[in-house]
């Protein structure tokens, strides 16, 4: 059993003077999928922001055993952690192609970058059609695909997504999650997914963490979370 690709112990985070995370412990298996669930405002997005260094955080954060809690955002990204933020973070004034090229910005290997481009367009054909279009004119679903493709072009070991289903039609969401599954199985990219849509996330994930007001309420294999009636009714709403 290989060590987790990401683990946190006692993770705390602040928005200015207000503490939003009060000691969060969890881990992501190497090659696994972990879902972060919880109600609105529980602190799920905060976790991702803290991992990426976008907000002030303390605690033990290790990526492949190496502490990253003091790194700047761009250095975290360069280690191989790709973060697709809530709102997608698309460069709306740049073209689809330029957005993708930015994903490959830190990579030096031109050949494999080109190969990756082709793979992305294979995975998300709609992006190929809109290559030269301004990213801001894409639909919500297409922007989400673009954000994911851009993140994948970084050749990350860990892909973190913040509410990938938000505001998207069910068919589109299904397509996206299918693609995520493919990416995880075929390429071994570990996934950390923050989702409001619990059932969707639990289908894909092997582990889940339940967050309530900045603390871990429950964590374990997704089967266990899904099977627990009380948890389902109280936290997941079904």
């Amino acid at each position: 059993m290989s060590p987790p690709i990401l683990e946190t112990k006692g993770l705390e985070a602040w928005y200015g003077p207000a503490r939003a995370l009060h000691g969060v412990d969890f881990e992501v298996e190497d090659g696994g999928v972990t879902a972060v669930l919880g109600a609105n405002g529980a602190g799920k997005t905060t976790i991702l922001r803290a991992l990426s260094g976008l907000i002030r955080r303390t605690g033990d954060i290790r990526f492949r055993g190496r502490p990253i809690g003091a790194l700047a955002t761009e250095d975290v990204a360069r280690l191989g952690i790709a973060h697709v933020p809530d709102g997608r973070g698309t460069f709306v004034d740049l073209t689809v192609e330029e957005n993708l090229r930015l994903g490959a910005y830190v990579r030096a290997d031109r050949q494999s970058v080109r190969a990756d481009f082709d793979r992305m367009f294979g995975l998300f054909p709609r992006l190929a059609e809109r290559r030269r279009q301004q990213a801001g004119t894409l639909s919500g679903g297409e922007q989400q695909m673009l954000a994911i493709a851009r993140a994948l072009l970084m050749r990350p070991s860990l892909l973190m997504l913040d509410e990938p289903s938000f505001g998207l039609a069910p068919l589109v969401v299904a397509e996206i999650f299918r693609a995520l599954g493919e990416i995880n199985r075929d390429e071994g990219v570990s996934l950390l997914i923050v989702e409001q849509n619990a059932s969707l996330a639990l289908d894909l994930a092997d582990r889940a963490v339940l967050i309530e007001t900045g603390r871990v309420a429950l964590s374990g294999p997704s089967q266990m979370i899904r099977a627990d009636d009380a948890v389902r009714r109280a936290y997941l709403g079904y």
């Binding site: 602040w14 928005y15 200015g16 003077p17 976008l54 907000i55 002030r56 709102g87």
Partner: protein
């Protein structure tokens, strides 16, 4: 010093007042003249602070209104023979109108754009003043000269002392007026407009009216200062009213402390004496060093901003708080956002 209600604040104000009154009788002619200059600058800074500090409208062009007051008073006195106690108020009214009118287009620009527009105003002012078409009135690039006023009724004061006292009286009156303005409904409205303009509007504050009027009032202050300056200096010419003047005003209010009326005095002292100090420092460098004071002044500006972003008044307030309260609440480091990591610059919404 802005919270003049507090005991230390009142004491300081009284001390300053007493010193200011005694000053002209103890100091020599040139120093009295400098004292008058400080008061004149303080008046202009009061006005600019009302506009920029309290109402948030950045003006890099207040030298222009100062010039209107200066030239206006000079023209009225030299070409129309009015006595100074009529010329200055009249010129100031003209300034008010000019400021009020400028306030209308200013409504459309925000922050930096207004800074840009007023910067342009400041740069263009000397050119406008020396425009050949106005030569008859303005005296063209030569300007106008006039005699200093004498003390009335043969009071045994020198011209310098009399002038100083006139400036002091104006400064005191205008400070008191500004204080009342700022402490009352109007002041709160101005600050509300600065901090949350949309919310202010929804509460029924007519932002447009307040902002344009504020512009007018601050121009009026600059005009009074300009008129007094004409008396003090004895002549006006286009070069005196260039960009450097407007920039000096801005430096004065930021160093003295934005949104702090008391800071106007600190600011005035800074811009009156620090360039001189810089001059002194470079005396030893020899002849070619006459340019160096500017560099030292510039470097000082940057250092002051780094060390005291809230100005001298802000630092004084922080010091007073530290001395008088036993348990100090966590004070923001100057005006700099401590939660810098939380709000990375330009973070997308």
């Amino acid at each position: 010093m802005a919270d003049a209600d507090s005991a230390p604040g009142v004491l300081v104000a009284i001390a300053v007042g007493v010193f200011a009154l005694a000053f002209p009788f103890a100091a020599s002619g040139y120093h009295i003249y400098q004292g008058a200059q400080v008061l004149i600058l303080a008046i202009a800074l009061l006005g600019l602070n009302l506009l920029t500090g309290f109402n948030g409208q950045i003006s890099l062009g207040h030298g222009a209104f100062f010039a209107i007051g200066s030239y206006g008073a000079a023209i009225l006195m030299v070409k129309f023979g009015l006595p100074y106690w009529a010329a200055i108020p009249l010129a100031s009214v003209v300034c008010f109108i000019a400021g009020f009118l400028f306030g209308f287009p200013a409504l459309r620009f925000g922050g930096l754009y207004l800074a840009l527009a007023t910067f342009a105003l400041a740069v263009a002012t000397p050119q406008i003043l020396s425009y050949k078409g106005f030569d008859a009135l303005t005296g063209g690039s030569q300007g106008l000269t006039l005699a200093k006023p004498r003390a009335p009724f043969g009071i045994g004061l020198t011209a310098d002392q009399w002038l100083y006292l006139v400036c002091l009286a104006c400064a005191a009156a205008l400070y008191w007026a500004a204080l009342n303005l700022v402490r009352g409904r109007v002041g709160r409205a101005l600050v509300a407009i600065r901090d949350q303009p949309i919310a202010a509007e929804t509460m029924g504050i007519n932002a447009a009216l307040y902002k344009t009027t504020c512009f007018g009032v601050s121009a009026l202050y600059a005009g009074v200062a300009g008129g007094l300056s004409t008396l003090a200096v004895g002549f006006v010419s286009p070069e005196s009213f260039g960009l450097a003047l407007s920039l000096a005003f801005l430096v004065g209010i930021v160093v003295g402390g934005l949104a702090s009326l008391g800071g106007a005095l600190f600011g005035a002292l800074f811009i009156e004496f620090v360039p001189n100090l810089a001059d002194q420092l470079t005396v030893s460098f020899g002849e070619g060093a006459k340019a160096l004071p500017g560099a030292i002044y510039g470097a000082l500006l940057i250092l002051v901003m780094a060390a005291m972003p809230t100005g001298v008044a802000g630092a004084a307030r922080a010091a007073a708080r530290a001395l008088t309260s036993s348990r100090q609440p966590k004070v923001e480091k100057g005006g700099v956002n401590v939660a810098a990591k939380y709000e990375r610059k330009g973070e997308a919404p």
